[in-house]
């Protein structure tokens, strides 16, 4: 067995390579996952990345990975090289106040290895200056009945589950909007930090 390469921070200067909206490099990844002909309910997930002082984190990077509306993944093993179809992956650099958003579809249900259906969810990888390794969390949706039987949510203490639930907001007339703040660390006062996972 080989030892894996250790993680190091993404640092403050990644944007001109990884999210080069303001730079010359062509963009591969964006925060809009919608492609023509895509089945499913279009949603907007928005929120802020916040630090232990409850201050927005502009030099973070948020990535999401999710199933399509039927619970299927655009995975490498099935990948045929064509850049078409739903990729299920998004990446965004928050703004100066740590605000971010994604436009995507509500994912379908995905099975666990022992065949149980999970509630619709999106995996999140959070990177930032000041983070030597990325953090992993999940987004669930407040209006999903199946949350109460979700095998991952059930492993989270009841009083911590709410930090993983995106809340419906008043609509913007285009797509359903959910709010999901990512609190890296809780302070002496204020809201609890997001539950993160060891993946």
């Amino acid at each position: 067995m080989l030892g894996i390469t250790p993680s190091q921070t993404v640092g403050p200067f990644y944007a001109y390579c990884l999210t080069p909206t303001k730079y010359k490099l062509h963009e591969i990844f964006t925060n809009d996952l919608i492609v023509p002909g895509l089945e499913g309910e279009t949603i907007r997930i928005e929120g802020r990345v916040l630090d232990g002082d409850n201050v927005g984190v502009p030099d973070a990077m948020v990535e999401i990975w999710q199933a399509d509306a039927k619970g299927g993944f655009a995975h490498a093993r099935e990948h045929q090289g064509a850049n078409t179809g739903f990729k299920g992956f998004g990446r965004v650099e928050p703004d100066n106040e740590g605000k971010y958003h994604f436009i995507t579809i509500k994912p379908g249900r995905v099975k666990t290895p022992d065949g149980k259906l999970q509630a619709p969810h999106i995996d999140v990888a959070l990177f930032a200056r000041g983070m030597l390794k990325h953090l992993v969390t999940r987004i669930y949706f407040a209006d999903e009945e199946s949350n109460k039987d979700d095998p991952v949510l059930m492993q989270v203490p009841a009083d911590r589950r709410d930090t993983l639930i995106a809340k419906p907001q008043s609509g913007n007339g285009r797509e359903k909007v959910y709010r999901f703040d990512i609190r890296i660390q809780e302070g002496a006062e204020g809201p609890p930090e997001t539950q993160f996972f060891e993946a």
Binding site: C17, D59, W65, Q195, F197
Partner: protein
Amino acid sequence: MTMHFPRDSAKVHPPSLFPYYTSTVKRAPKRPLIILPQTETELTGPAYGHEVVQPGDSDLTTQHEGTPIGQRIIVSGRVLDEDGRPVPNTLIEIWQANAAGRYVHINDQHDAPLDPNFSGAGRVVTDNEGRYKFITIRPGAYSWQNHENAWRPAHIHFSLFGPSFLSRLVTQMYFPDDPLFDYDPMFTSVDPKARQRMVSRFSLFTTIPEWGLGFEWDIVLRGTNATPMEQ
């Protein structure tokens, strides 16, 4: 055949809280992490291959009209899993400072010149044997605000996907025998036994006469082959 991702392997990653790197203090969770079962969401991952890379993306010395200032280097190696098997067709993204230690990023105010012929961003996709190669300029060290007289050792940032969400890795490649290693809170955040895994080695084999110096660096991502259940 599916991959298996042992959790113990990931313990080599540095801690979230490492006070010597002062920015970790407000950016580390206080609550314990919860073990996430490895479901299909975790065992699959983004699929991006050769179609997203453009010709010239892997040569950082030819992205502008002129030639950048600095020592031309060839950085090459393989991407492997924990079994030593190559990880083919996986996207690598890199970014770095120029020879003077200055990043193109609009927020970098370090007192060193920009090079109009160097942006410092590159991409490549590994071949069928997991091999990659970049041509670039050896980056300079730079000063930062972490502590009194703090300087980062020269490094190139690497971002990789591998076969799944669990193999995702962002790291930094260092150069051999950098005198700044012992003073760097990022390098020293890693267990001493594993630090050398982040350090490239000089290679006369990949050095090109009268042209550029070769450095080789293999990257090992999480993942082993799942062993079929034996009765």
